[in-house]
Subunit: 439 residues, 2 copies
Amino acid sequence: MDICRVAILGCGTVGGGVARIMQDLKQDLSMRAGMPVDLIKIVDLNPAESANRHGINRDLFCGTADTITPEEASSFISEIIHDKDIDVVVETIGGTSDFLLDIVKKLIAAGKHVVTANKALLALYNSDIFTTAEASGVQIGYEAAVCGAIPIIKTIQESYSGDKIQSISGIFNGTSNYILSKMKEEGLTFDDALAIAQEKGYAEQDPTYDINGYDAGHKLLLLIKLAFGLDLAFEDIAISGIEDITDDDLDAAQELDSTIKLICYAEKRGEKVFATVRPMMVKNSNFLSQISGATNAVRLINMYAGEQILIGKGAGSLETASSIVADIVFLARNQGNNFHTGDSAGVSLMENDEFELPYNITFDLDDVPGMTGLVATAIGNQGINIDTVGHNRHNIDRAVFPVATMPCSMNQIRAAIDDIEKKRPGVYLNPPKVVPILF
Amino acid sequence: MDICRVAILGCGTVGGGVARIMQDLKQDLSMRAGMPVDLIKIVDLNPAESANRHGINRDLFCGTADTITPEEASSFISEIIHDKDIDVVVETIGGTSDFLLDIVKKLIAAGKHVVTANKALLALYNSDIFTTAEASGVQIGYEAAVCGAIPIIKTIQESYSGDKIQSISGIFNGTSNYILSKMKEEGLTFDDALAIAQEKGYAEQDPTYDINGYDAGHKLLLLIKLAFGLDLAFEDIAISGIEDITDDDLDAAQELDSTIKLICYAEKRGEKVFATVRPMMVKNSNFLSQISGATNAVRLINMYAGEQILIGKGAGSLETASSIVADIVFLARNQGNNFHTGDSAGVSLMENDEFELPYNITFDLDDVPGMTGLVATAIGNQGINIDTVGHNRHNIDRAVFPVATMPCSMNQIRAAIDDIEKKRPGVYLNPPKVVPILF
């Protein structure tokens, strides 16, 4: 290509931002790409409103009426698929429908590069989409799909290509981080913090996927593929969300000089990859503990370059759009071959409960003498070293105290917990709460 | 190119790391580059020792004896310059000699891509080198020259290309940051902290350029060219180092909920760029205040993507080498055209003393009534708004107190300082110390 001609499908929050930036920075983008970068067509169901809302030239929209029907939209999309002049298509329709998957596959088959922020679609159909792209000699730009404005995709592809990534951890969901920050800083309950997040626009009306860790999991899946070459099915990743975090958990974390965060974590040891999304107690000496509000952060440990941290906005119209436009410029300027992770044959997922991490276990027991000894002995019997036994909050007739372990597996911890129950049936007033500790 | 053949000139700390990584990750690198990446020649004065120290195949070195003479080295380098099979040359000789500049220019003229960590050479001869490269259709890989392992060059070139950078700030020199961290955390004097830094290998025996801000200035110059398209002569940048920082300054910073850091700062306002390297009081809410030890960090404010922070190792053999190898892979994989900053015509440097920043001024005066009023009135008379007047450390017969201003220029501050002296000659027991505050 010597002119980069772009079409946008879906001109809502993010697509509108893309059109806006392409219009405002047209000269800069062309200079950086080394060729003209032209936005030539937009398909949206509400051309008039979208053009007006985002300040975009109305003539770029397909259709002359104020609104177009889904059938008309389909027909315009079909024209774009068959338009030999279009090189890059931005997919900002969203969702994971068969309809959308079909469009994306047809675009790829027609030789168009596709740029998208759609993490869910890529996570669900990733080998399908990436394999087809490889075969058609086109590229999928998805910088915007993982942590919005943080350039983690290109950083892994282009900047850490002289290294081996050993672990990835991070805060990949701004909504849940906002809620946890509010709970900690203002002493709010989960429900109250969620209500404020919704009021301020940091959480959707249906925040399920933000809260339960699925959105973060989609992003982690894409990074695992990129960094370790491992194709996972979404259900392979052990995911738990922040719904059950209470102020007791936040207090226990504080006692350990830590902060509770919803952490995406993947580590490669030998040919095995451990992957999880779950609340962890992040030590305050780890930068991730300092990330508050709707901000995202990614921390990588590289074999040669050591620790690297990237912090930025994880969502937002123009923030996400900025990443999409950077992908377009990159495609035009470099026209490189597809990225391949080296040496990934034989890599497989590790059984989650075998991976060793330091854990915090908060016990809630009858407040009678001998409890600490019973617990500590059972834990020691499983070959687990104890790091600290925290302050025992004796209140009325219960003993609540945290035990921080040295690295061990969930299998060992479960065995210890079962052993305590066996030795003293009914001892648990509440099931012990187990949270990994991240240094 | 369909095989990427590489030569390394100078196989010391960094060059040895490059050879080591290229040897250890050969398969991965070739996969990522989409073609074989072969290290085929190394020139070093001490082949035997270098091969041994870095664990590199001895056969790669030019010359069969244990050491070679400078004349032999020159002749081997000349062969490499004329070797049509070599595509990329890694320059890790170091220094800014005419001899080295001549080699680099000849390599470029011969159509070889050059990859280097040599920030001083690039900063001193930047338009010369980059213009020649442009004319010869080759690229200069210099990711390693700015903040070692932090991928700030490619991030600006490839990831923020859908945006406009508004400001760059950061900690670009690990040695001075290590010294300031030690002074703060352990209450050491500058001299004692420097001695420890030298003992632990964080500072050279001659640490002049680390301490006086020149090393950081070289890096800032390169980023200003990249982000704002402005070619500066090194002496254009207002630079001061950390030599005069005392524990009083650290205390004053703490009082303002800040930490003293050697900050590189560049901001574009309209068509004017403000640039400086100097100690600043960084508010503790700014991530840069949290960067301790020999770590580097870069903070960018983008027009659309907002705040972005990258943190990582700024130096070290393998850390720096990792960035050099990434540049090699990038050159091979993408073979793109040269990067051009958009829309930089007409951009020029701003008169330093006109730029408005919030400042802290620490006064050291006779401890007699009326001093605070005298100072505050003189400052107000220059149209400067005062944010806070800090705790007055009355000790024996002197009054020492900080005044934090709202944004104003150094010209305004100087006028206020002169006015106070005029109103009450001899009032300054020591000249007022003026430090910008970074939010």
